[in-house]
């Protein structure tokens, strides 16, 4: 079995710089880009298959030179090698461009499964897994909260607002996973030490035969015209009660009805 885990390098949204910059080494881990959190679940899922059935797990990352640290982080979980599409031309790619490049990187690779996070914490489009499947002409099993692989078939529980669907597809297939699928491990020190000696292939766009005009900012189908910061939280509404609980409950019920929550 050969499994591909596409990963993304994203800004650290959980960083709290003030309390992390406290030691005498240059330690910017509060603000440095990190491995996309959802990719920890896909890596964990791939590692579980590897440990159970035996598999070679390969990281796939499209990103700048600096993405090497993110790739090494992914490898430290115990993965076997990486493909790093390292080309300045991919900067600013939208979901289609990204999927196009990832698909091109896999065109000549043999694999049984692609397992990836259902979204990246920076862009949050949730589009890339399905688009990648489309480019590769493979079935896509998205939003998996449980994955079973047996006898050449992948079966997932697909998370739905009101429960889950059970969906299956023959291998090879693309699976995107959600948080509920597992609790990712922490890398072991042995894994951290081994990560630097794992093989990393570094094709550029030309080597993959991708037309540079179709990807990157220039090739993007979508364009961000304007960015507005999240409006500040509005002051809450205070309701008073006479101690009986009735007035308060009534006010809360009215509020919820007004918000269409009841």
């Amino acid at each position: 079995m050969r499994i591909i885990c596409p990963i993304k390098r994203v800004p650290d949204t959980a960083a709290d710089k003030k309390i992390d910059a406290t030691d005498n080494t240059v330690d910017r881990d509060g603000s440095e880009p990190v491995l996309n959190a959802n990719d920890e679940w896909s890596i964990e899922e791939a590692m579980r298959i590897k440990e159970r059935d035996g598999a070679e797990v390969i990281v796939l990352c499209m990103g700048p030179e600096a993405a090497q640290t993110t790739i090494r982080k992914a490898l430290s979980y115990g993965l076997d090698g990486a493909i790093h599409v390292n080309d300045e031309g991919v900067a600013g790619s939208d979901a289609v461009g990204t999927a196009r490049v990832l698909a091109a990187a896999l065109a000549d690779e043999e694999f049984d499964l692609i397992i990836m996070g259902n979204q990246s914490s920076d862009a949050r489009t949730m589009l890339v897994p399905a688009m990648l499947a489309e480019f590769l002409d493979l079935p896509a099993l998205t939003y998996a909260k449980k994955l079973d692989v047996a006898d050449g078939t992948a079966t997932v529980q697909r998370e739905m607002p009101s429960g889950h669907q059970v969906v299956e597809a023959p291998l090879p297939a693309v699976v995107s996973v959600v948080e509920a699928i597992n609790e990712p491990r922490y890398p072991s020190f042995k894994g951290i030490m081994a990560a630097k000696s794992k093989p990393v292939a570094t094709p550029d766009l030309a080597a993959l035969g991708v037309d540079a005009g179709e990807v990157g900012l220039g090739g993007a189908w979508t364009q961000v015209d304007e960015i507005t910061p999240k409006p500040p939280k509005e002051a809450g509404e205070k309701v008073s009660d006479d101690g009986s609980g009735n007035l308060g409950a009534q006010a809360v019920a009215e509020f919820l009805t007004k918000q269409k929550l009841l």
């Binding site: 309390i19 406290t22 005498n24 080494t25 922490y186 020190f189 951290i192 030490m193």
Partner: protein, 387 residues
């Protein structure tokens, strides 16, 4: 530059990973497990899977193939959030596994180390006795040879990691000859007839760490359980403590840094007389002093660890690290509680726990007085006439 404070990429990553583990898994549990006096088996096992218990040992013995400094980095990060888990790791590796690694035969190492290094089992280090810890050479526990066995009698006091569900054995010092006096080390497996693990203590701090009183009553162990050379037992155990002081210093550094973390946050949030308390110099300066202590403590334990790794004499540097950082940890925790006001005297915030936990740092693995004695002796000052 001959001087460098740069960690390797792998060390920096180890520290990041342990920091994340401490923040995400340990911190949310710390208050409860300390209140319940609970030894958190699941967290300890997870630390085992991360390879923390094998950090300074080679992979052939189940270790992670790192260094003693790597171990210290992990202890500091755990200690920054919970001192009990920090001491559990420190004692398990520095005191429990290290005597096997340093003094065991190849056979003993292969048999005993891997389970410890993988964090599946724990070992205790039985030096202190009810009659004395500072004067550990005055031990009363005896071992008498009887055919293919040694018969052990005596009591050990305050032994960390000896009574958990994962505790596999304890190594001890015992007098094997009175004239001339000889002290030798033995491995005593949990469950050996005649070896009883007591109920522990009502401690002031380190509530989630396991500390036990041990009783040996005609306890027979095979001669193969002797560890190291006959008559070298006391010197060997003291050399374990020399290194252990660096790790305790890392634990103390974590405590100070944990106080800084908490106080910086609180000094922003808490307001008095209409302003955040951090804007008052009286509070800001306390935190600045705390940060200074954390950095000095860290620099000194790094220095001692570097000397040790370079094969240079490191004992004095280790004593300085242990003495300074443990006393600074008590001061930092006391001031942190002050900054938190009334809340600092509750268990609602971690600083109260840091205060309870800090005191033992000045006592365990050689009291502050013992460290000063060692430093003074190293300077050539005449020893006190004892006895």
């Amino acid at each position: 530059m001959a001087i460098s404070f740069e960690l390797t990429e792998e060390q920096a990553e180890l520290r990041r990973v342990v920091r994340q583990f401490a923040r995400d898994k340990v911190a949310p549990r710390a208050r409860e497990m300390n209140a319940n006096r609970e030894f958190p088996l699941d967290l300890v096992r997870q630390m085992g899977e991360m390879g923390l218990f094998g950090l300074p040992f080679p992979t052939e013995y189940g270790g992670s193939g790192g260094t003693y400094l790597d171990l210290c980095l992990a202890i500091e990060e755990l200690g920054r959030v919970d001192q009990s888990l920090g001491i559990t790791l420190e004692a398990a590796v520095g005191l429990g596994a290290m005597p096997i690694w340093k003094f065991g035969t190849e056979e003993q190492k292969l048999q005993l180390l891997p389970a410890l290094a993988r964090g599946e089992k724990l070992a205790g280090f039985g030096l202190t006795e009810p009659g004395g810890g500072s004067d550990a050479g005055g031990l009363r526990t005896t071992a008498e040879r009887d055919g293919d066995h040694w018969v052990i009698n005596g009591t050990k006091q305050f032994i960390t990691n000896a009574g958990t569900d994962m505790s596999d054995f304890v190594t001890i010092t015992a007098v094997t000859s009175q004239q001339p006096r000889a002290v030798t080390n033995f491995v005593v497996p949990t469950g050996t007839p005649g070896y009883t693990v007591g109920g522990g203590y009502d401690k002031v701090g380190w509530h989630a760490s396991d500390t036990r009183d041990l009783y040996f009553d005609d306890c027979r162990v095979p001669v193969a359980n002797q560890l190291g050379e006959t008559g070298r037992g006391f010197a060997n155990f003291l050399s374990i403590l020399d290194e252990g002081r660096i790790a305790i210093s890392a634990l103390a550094t974590g405590s100070i840094q944990g106080c800084v973390d908490e106080c910086v946050r609180y000094a922003h949030e808490r307001e008095a007389f209409g302003k955040p308390i951090g804007s008052y110099q009286a509070i800001a300066f306390k935190i600045a002093d705390m940060e200074s202590a954390a950095e000095l403590a860290r620099n000194q334990y790094w220095y001692a660890a570097w000397l040790m790794a370079e094969g240079k004499p490191f004992k004095r540097a280790a004593s300085v690290a242990k003495l300074y950082s443990s006393e600074a940890a008590v001061t930092a925790a006391r001031e942190a509680c002050q900054i938190f006001g009334g809340y600092g005297f509750t268990t609602e915030y971690p600083v109260g726990r840091f205060y309870q936990d800090a005191k033992i740092l000045e006592i365990g693995e050689g009291t502050s007085e013992v460290q000063r004695m060692l430093i003074a002796r190293d300077l050539g000052l005449p020893p006190a006439r004892v006895g």
